[in-house]
């Protein structure tokens, strides 16, 4: 929030120092409620605390000295939105493409375990020449790589009402810069046998969660990540080490990874049979649908912002699990015409890519849409196209429909919901 309105009480005592609000308000934790203008011009109510009130003129008093840990401005309070099983990234509050680690989405099946890094081990066995146990320190000694990838839960679509934020619609995606060792480096070390075609990845959470992964992904671009955005990976993201399968549904990137077993067949775990499989046409159920198809969402303007007439930048993110984003198109008239948006360079493989499109809102009704096109030529579909392809009973996984925002005459922005 850039500005705040000037109605913060500016009472001055005779010496020109602000009168303590604690004295005035009897020590209430919330010293005042003020109306603030967010950096997008939206008016929001905000409780102002004692500490914040003290900043009435920052040029007249030295601030606190350097500290051991940075903090967010007290005026910025982006938060995840938790449910019983997951927590969503506030996409509408973010800039650029790196998700601050504490805002990374969460999805786990039995809570976040506490793992002592000194006792942590990763065992690789099964169809290998040399079954080995690696400590965390040993994993860190291998040649390392640092790469930026998005993660996304394959159950990342919600609809059902007009008052929904990007966070609520598809906040189960986030992006980080990950550091770790390539799985191929470890495969080389243990000597994966040529007949091995699948491997089981197992976590050490209370669900001891498992997924089967084709060995080809292990050779191609899988990583064992131990760092995220420049520091040790967060507990919610798999501390001290996790599997990371770029572009694939988040569940396969098993967190708190403790064991990899090479095999010549998939294990048919619960998470790849009962869950993370989806009904398609003719009573069939699609299984091992690993790759996240291309998708985009406009994060500004979006509900609950209140628009003001004039020029603005329509902004959002686009991503594809199949490679780079080739193009993003934006429509301001409900898909009658489409215009190429500008992509923020560098456009990375299997990564959130920021896009923007300049728009002059003259005040009428408008329908804002974005669609991503990836380097394979895949065009983000509409909900109707998805239903046509998969049938009316299609499951809730891998839904990546074009999302529309309905701009009202009064400047409200509502989500055009198409399916519960």
């Amino acid at each position: 929030m850039e500005e705040h309105s000037k109605d913060i009480n500016q009472d001055k005592g005779s010496m020109g120092k602000p009168i303590s609000r604690r004295i005035l308000l009897g020590g209430a934790a919330t010293a005042a409620v003020v109306m603030l203008k967010s950096s997008y011009g939206q008016i929001v109510q905000k409780a102002i605390t004692q500490a914040e009130l003290k900043i009435s003129d920052p040029t007249k008093e030295p601030g606190p000295p350097p500290g051991v840990l940075g903090t967010r401005s007290t005026f910025e309070q982006p938060v995840k939105k938790p449910s019983d099983t997951s927590s969503r990234t506030p996409l509408q509050d973010l800039f650029g493409t790196i998700t601050p680690s504490d805002l990374h989405y969460e999805r786990h099946h039995a809570g976040v375990p506490v793992i002592d890094p000194h006792n942590y081990t990763l065992t690789i066995h099964g169809m290998v020449e040399k079954p080995l146990v690696f400590s965390l320190a040993e994993l860190k000694r291998f040649p390392s790589v640092t790469r930026t990838f998005f993660l996304e839960c394959s159950g990342n679509y919600r609809g059902g009402k007009e008052e929904m934020t990007p966070q609520e619609i598809c906040g189960l995606t986030s992006q980080s810069e990950w550091t770790g060792v390539m799985l191929s480096t470890l495969f080389r070390e243990v000597g994966v046998k040529p007949k091995a075609s699948w491997f089981l990845a197992e976590g050490s959470d209370a669900a001891v969660m498992t997924r089967s992964v084709p060995v080809s992904k292990g050779w191609e671009d899988a990583m064992i990540a131990y760092a995220q955005n420049g520091e040790a990976i967060r507990p919610e993201q798999g501390y001290p080490a996790r599997l990371l399968l770029p572009g694939w549904e988040g569940n396969t990137s098993v967190k708190w990874l403790r064991r990899i077993e090479l095999s010549d067949q998939p294990f048919m775990t619960r998470e790849e049979t009962a869950k993370y499989s989806e009904a398609v046409k003719d009573g069939k159920i699609r299984q091992f649908s690993f790759v996240m198809d291309a998708r985009s969402i406009i994060t500004y303007p979006a509900y609950p912002q209140q628009l003001q007439k004039g020029w603005m930048e329509i902004r959002g993110i686009a991503w594809s699990g199949r490679g780079k984003i080739y193009k993003v198109e934006v429509s301001t008239n409900g898909g009658k015409t489409w215009n190429a948006a500008t992509l923020q360079e560098p456009v990375l493989d299997k990564a959130h890519t920021a896009f923007r499109y300049l728009w002059d809102w003259k005040g009428g009704e408008a329908e804002l849409m974005s669609r991503a096109i990836d380097e394979t030529g895949y065009v983000q579909p509409t909900m109707k196209q998805l239903i046509d392809a998969r049938g009316k009973d299609m499951g809730g996984y891998h839904l990546n429909p074009v999302t529309s925002w309905l701009v009202q005459r009064d400047g409200r922005v509502l989500f055009k919901t198409e399916r519960q």
Binding site: A110, K130, V133, T210, A274, F288, D293, G323
Partner: protein
Amino acid sequence: MNKLWIVCSCLIIWSCRSDDQARHVVVTTTGKIISIDSASWPSSFHLGRPASPAEIEKMDIDVRPDGVGLPAGEGKAIAGKVIYMTKCVACHGTDTTSPDAKLLGPVLVSTKPGKNKTIGNYWPYATTLFDYVRRAMPYNEPGSLTNEEVYQLTAFLLQANKVIGENEVMNAKTLPKVVMPAQNRFIPDDRRGGAEVR
């Protein structure tokens, strides 16, 4: 069925393990070539210690559809029902639980078609049930069941979902042979990028 999965995951790995140990080159199914510059790498980094067979056996709790990984022991539905009614019913209910009941866990017994997706109408392999219950249930005390109890619970859940009869014994031999009603509904992913929406 397993052949199908092997074919669909097929990819050419062409490891240039020639005399010079140059680099490992991977050609993916999409034709992308990824090479890790390992020209200066030793043949082994000598990191990690050997995993002993005993150590592996302790950790290796997974069960495959062909039965590999199933332990000794056996169980019948009648014994499983007793355990279910004490350790599981609070979170999972029974076939007679009201559909409006707020349960902590998903419905596990459903014999009415089209209702909840569960073991009898959705799960493709019976071995998955053993594997999952042993590793993750009961939710509040995972890993607390004996192998015998897991066989009994597996038998009960299969019987309650009308997959097996009341007197069938579930063990390492019989469980992999149980054919689940939904198994032939499962198909591999046919999405492959490009212009088509699937």
